[in-house]
Symmetry: C2
Subunit: 215 residues, 2 copies
DNA sequence: GTCTATACATTGATAGAC
DNA sequence: GTCTATCAATGTATAGAC
């Protein structure tokens, strides 16, 4: 729904908000500069004044969105006070909450992944500049030390993190496919998503199968 | 690399192959009919003779790809001879293998998900017409009966299937993001993916944590 | 079935007045 | 900073000869 020209905030901000929604819905190639300008309530020439061109605008948008999610979620990775189980579940919960409340971010990332992430390098530079503590090695080291202290089962820390991200993020990405193939209405899908964190916690706790014998 | 006009197969087939690769790499909006025609080694007008327009061509491509994966994977869901654990692991393995060997399919699905799947309805109609046994309810009923017989832990069958799909498919989708943020080279990522099925099996078997007590 | 030629709309982008 | 006016390039799609 392109709402025409509500004059809230300064021009630059309004352009970014409009661009965000268009890039999210149609991707870089599908988004139209004209439509962005219209929705922002400014002339098309303004895009090129405030940002160099479509590409720079896009990178600015994607960076800002990633900065927002990482600066909010990354601290969760590193906090040490809680028991392991709660720490991991909080990471999952943080992603779940963020993706639930930011459908635009989900679409934006999906669009970039779909074309193979050609601009992720540039984007990550900007993100690193704004989220200082972003160091994935620390996360892996943290997981490894939990394995050594016996709180987590031994294994590749990358696989553990991948488990967590997969279980949490995939349903958001695959939603249209799941709704179509599983024949779910949006409310039905929402219901599945509501139960998701508990189901994930249960899998991490117990695995999938009934237990015949114990090691 | 657009290879020019190798005259293998009939025109219609060559167009579809070229279109497949372009839609996969750039999406519906990003793909150019001219580029597709060039790569297929035919005139652009041929696209409109063999297919009605760009949209019909796209739907044809996406349907064919989904038909291929479903007709190959769906039988795996329903085979009853094997123990539960092996049945589930085979489903995961089937997806893993298929996505490993069909990078184009992965991209094609991702592109459609990115725009919210506006053509999935039409596509699924075509798929259902060509893969007769495609009935998701049977799968859920199968999972539920395994719960009732005590082989699987009780829970929502949809969450179980979602676990399986998430753990298996997500890494393929998120690859560019993971490589960039985790700082992995393609060979390093491949290595992680090689170990993936075993790591997933381990999670399903044991959960994530060390076991203090047993129920 | 395949091509040439072209219609017609829309695109991203800029020059220059205010 | 913001606008009007405009451009060259490129987009999808079609008409009609062969």
């Amino acid at each position: 729904m392109p709402r025409p020209a509500d004059q809230t905030g300064d021009t630059r901000t309004r352009i970014m908000e409009a661009a965000s929604s268009h890039f999210a819905e149609r991707g870089f190639d599908g988004a139209r500069t004209q439509a962005i300008a219209d929705e922002a309530g400014v002339n098309k020439a303004m895009l090129y004044y405030h940002f160099r061109d479509k590409e720079h605008l896009y990178i600015e948008i994607l960076s800002n969105n990633l900065i927002e999610i990482f600066s909010q979620i990354f601290p969760t990775f590193l906090q040490q006070e809680l028991p392991v189980r709660e720490r991991l579940l909080r990471i999952a919960a943080a992603y779940h909450l963020f993706l639930s409340t930011h459908p635009q971010l989900r679409a934006l990332i999906l669009q970039e992944l779909a074309v193979g992430g050609p601009r992720l390098g540039d984007v990550l530079e900007k993100v690193k500049g704004s989220v200082p503590g972003l160091d994935i090695e620390q996360v892996f080291m943290g997981i490894r030390s939990l394995m050594d202290s016996g709180e987590l089962r031994q294994g590749d820390p990358r696989q553990v993190l991948l488990h967590l991200l997969s279980l949490t993020i995939f349903p958001f990405f695959a939603r249209p496919l799941l709704e179509t193939i599983w024949g779910l209405s949006p409310p039905e899908f929402e219901e599945v998503m509501k139960d998701r964190p508990a189901a994930v916690a249960d899998l991490l706790d117990q695995g999938l199968f009934t237990r015949q014998e114990v090691r």
